[in-house]
């Protein structure tokens, strides 16, 4: 009897198992060729068969060697459940099946912490689904007509002054603006969040950029897209479309060399600047771009050699919020002549209110937005321990920040944007609307955009291979053969269509509560079926 070596990894240790039907398989090889992870390969299997070789039936039992598709039991090549094999198989002969008895998490720590992409798979709870828009206008306070009324679905982006601080003078019964005030743009309350070229393939990034420009130019929806850390193509920097982009500066300052060089050639200001202090998916960790993904064009845009690019966890030289305000905000404001809102993005944390308070009280009044990124945010690459075990849900934190501002009468002065898990179930409008009623001015989304492009990853451990350079959908890889899998135009169209429906759904949510402007902070419009959530958020408990 063969000795069993229990230390060896077997396919039944892996999170996904391949269900393969040799009798349907025609050995075309499509699945093996299509699997980017080398999780399947051709092998030979001995098979008992009853065959008849004569003209008349002469059944004979025999053993034959047949080629079959076999699953690799190597941890490195473990099946990710991406389903590309199933998609490509013309005979429905193969598909991945989740293995509830997987031991992969336990067994794959031989070479240090597990790395992956995606979002938390452990804290994917859905607070927003326990909240309902429960205050419906009826009778004396009529619902509006979602198709007929004008709806102002816009969010301020920039530092808003209190009415008493507005530099008005009175002349001939009219108020006049005496001097400039901080720039405020009214943008669409859905921001395409910062995913860099590098984390994404250039084509995927382009698809989102294309959708952004289309939504602005053709649909009249001023949707902003954040570049992500790592800069932007010079052509775009020097184009008129730059106004739809929020340029990000993160702790690695990647890409800024090029941005600064492009400044004299810019024909328009960027839509904004976003200082990334932290990220919800991996708070306290800097950006991480594995060497596999640092292709030539990424090296060019970022001005770096081919190597793993780790951004430091902090902006070097920033020791306090006050200092951050002085150094980064002032210099970035100054860079664009104080014409461009400069906002800040932090990972949600139990300390977020303190940070927000500091920003609200800053005497320079130059912080143009506070982006709070919750634990359910996605990322291209992170340690799994960070993804699953660090961070803070965004819903209650947005509420806490809003209420902290209310307490001081400063609500609305630094617009709040919440992200991290928005649209996780596909219903971004409902999520956004509830966040807005709780006090957010708008939301930002990332993962859902690449899901619209075709990403098959999810919070149940499917795929999440964004760090490997082998993204099976061509979104998160720089491998030109894989990138070809992505149809840029169709992807962009998918995003545009989604946002147009998002807009309709926002109206469908505003109309029944009788509002034609965004109900920012209108918590009375919400009720919760969960007592603890209701109590925490200060909304009505219903059952």
């Amino acid at each position: 009897m063969e000795a069993i070596k229990v230390q060896d990894i077997a396919v039944n240790d892996l999170p996904w198992r391949i269900e393969y039907d040799a009798s349907r398989c025609t050995r075309c090889g499509s699945c093996v060729a299509g699997c980017t992870f080398h999780a399947i390969e051709f092998g030979v299997r001995r098979q008992s068969m009853t065959v008849s070789k004569e003209n008349t039936p002469m059944p004979e039992h025999t053993q034959v060697a047949v080629t079959v598709v076999k699953q690799s039991s190597d941890l490195k090549n473990a099946c990710r459940g991406c389903g590309m094999c199933e998609r490509v198989c013309p005979n429905d002969a193969i598909r991945p099946v989740r293995n509830p008895d997987s031991r992969k998490t336990l067994l794959s720590r031989d070479n240090g912490p597990i790395k992956r992409g995606g979002r938390t798979n452990l804290n994917a709870q859905r607070t927003l689904d326990k909240i309902i828009v429960g205050r419906i206008s009826q009778m004396t306070d009529p619902s509006l007509d979602a198709a007929r009324h004008t709806f102002d679905i816009r969010a301020p982006f920039g530092r808003v002054l209190s009415a008493k601080e507005l530099p008005f003078t009175l002349s001939g019964g009219q108020l006049k603006m005496k001097k400039r005030v901080p720039p405020v743009k009214w943008i669409y309350p859905l921001i395409f969040s910062d995913m860099s070229i590098g984390a994404l393939s250039t084509r995927a990034w382009e698809a989102i950029a294309l959708a952004t420009a289309y939504l602005n130019e053709k649909c009249g929806l001023p949707v902003m897209m954040s570049s992500g850390e790592g800069g932007m193509p010079v052509k775009l920097l020097e184009s008129k479309y730059l106004k739809y982009f929020i340029i990000q500066i993160a702790s690695g300052h990647f890409g800024w060399n090029r941005i600064i060089k492009a400044m004299p050639h810019m024909v328009t200001d960027p839509g904004g600047v976003l200082i990334k202090i932290g990220q919800g998916a991996k708070p306290g960790d800097g950006g991480l771009l594995p060497a596999e993904k640092v292709a030539e064009h990424v090296q060019a845009i970022r001005g770096v050699p081919k190597a793993t690019l780790s951004s430091p966890p902090n902006h070097q030289g920033l020791y306090s919020i006050e200092e951050s305000v002085q150094k980064m905000h002032l210099s970035l404001n100054a860079a664009f002549g104080f014409r461009v809102p400069v906002a800040i993005k932090c990972a949600a944390s139990s300390t977020s209110v303190a940070v927000y308070n500091n920003l609200l009280r800053d005497p320079y009044k130059i912080c143009g937005g506070f982006f709070l990124d919750g634990i359910q945010g996605g990322t291209g690459a992170a340690n799994e321990v960070s993804l699953d075990h660090t961070g803070h849900p965004v819903v209650s934190k947005i509420r806490d920040c809003y209420l902290a501002a209310v307490k001081q009468g400063l609500q609305g002065q630094i617009p709040l944007f919440g992200g991290g898990g928005i649209g996780m179930t596909g219903n971004a409008a409902a999520d956004a609307f509830k966040m807005i009623c709780l006090g957010a001015n708008g939301v930002f989304v990332g993962k859902i955009l690449i899901q619209l492009l075709g990403c098959v990853g999810n919070e149940n451990g499917r795929c999440n291979a964004c760090n490997t350079g082998k993204c099976p959908t061509g979104i998160c890889t720089q491998d030109p053969r894989l990138v070809k899998r992505l149809d840029v135009d169709r992807g962009a169209q998918k995003i545009v269509d989604y946002v147009l429906t998002f807009d309709q759904e926002m109206r469908k949510l505003m109309a029944p509560i009788g509002n034609s402007s965004l109900p920012v902070g209108r918590s009375d419009a919400l009720v919760s079926t969960d007592k603890a959530i209701a109590d925490k958020l200060g909304i009505q408990y219903v059952c």
Binding site: W186, V406, G412, S517
Partner: protein
Amino acid sequence: MCRIGAVKSKVPIHPSKALHLMLPQQEGHDNSGFAMVMQDLFGIFSGYKDKPLLSLACTQQGAHLVEDYMDSHNFVQLAEWIPVPDKKPNLDIKAMPYYIFRNYDYPEHVDTKEAREELLLDTRLALRKILDDSGEGYVYSFWPDVLTLKEIGDPRDIATYFRLWDDNGCLVARNIIAQCRQNTNYDIVRYAAHPFFLQGYTLCANGENTFFTKNKEFQKSLHRGYIGYESDSQNFLYTLHYVLHELKWPINYYKHVITPLPFEELETREDKDVLLAIRQSLANLEINGPNTIIAGLPDGRMMTCCDSKKLRPVVLGGDDETVAISSEVCGLNEILPNRDTTKDIYPNEREVVMIGNDLEVTRWKQ
């Protein structure tokens, strides 16, 4: 739904005029109370037009508490009118034991206009607190030449109780703003009945304020006088006061604050920088439900305007002597049957209509 009304006249009028304006509209206001603010008083208050007049409803104990407070704060009583009620049986009124209307002289050291305005407000707030804490009464206004009466019950019976049908010349004014319904959204308390009053500004509203929570959360930290919130219409008064009294902006900006123009329209305006800044900074004072507002300003002018979708009615009409504003035209027909109805004004959703002290009517679009 509420019905609201106001009468402005060159000759002083009795409260019965306001009642006649309101009663034909009773199908819409359910007759559950009566409240009015009279301004520019004549009759028994003629001699004290520049002296603050305190309007309160209280128990005997409440009256003592108020007297003690006023004495200890150097207010000298000049005149007093305590209506002797007609206590007919079966009147539908939840009357308080005493209704006191009393003129005071200002304490000696307070002589500037600003200091007086602040003192009067602080005094009213202090009295309100004393009466609230003890549960002994309600104070509605403390202001020169302004009288407020509010009561729960059938407006006809309330009028009988206070002998308002007598038209005996004792209680008359050039401006009356009135309303005949108690709050049905929230608790039935006297403070919840419109019109509301603050430092010379009077306001009543017909509608729902769907941004009540937003308005309230913001106003709470704007001014010490913005209190109560027993009704979701108080917000409109506080915003009016904030825009005119605190920010000192011209009246035409009030409409821009409560019903800002849509962004699309703002973009086309020459003054878009100012209007956008206002919309941004005062986003929390926007109202976003069905509403009509009638307001009285400290100088005696009256105005009316609606929500941005014109979900509530209002009409204004009059003759050379009297102009009235009413939720429904049947009210106008009752008190001004001979007016030229072709000159009636039905303001649109972007309009503000103002009645000057000479009864000249001006209207403008926001």
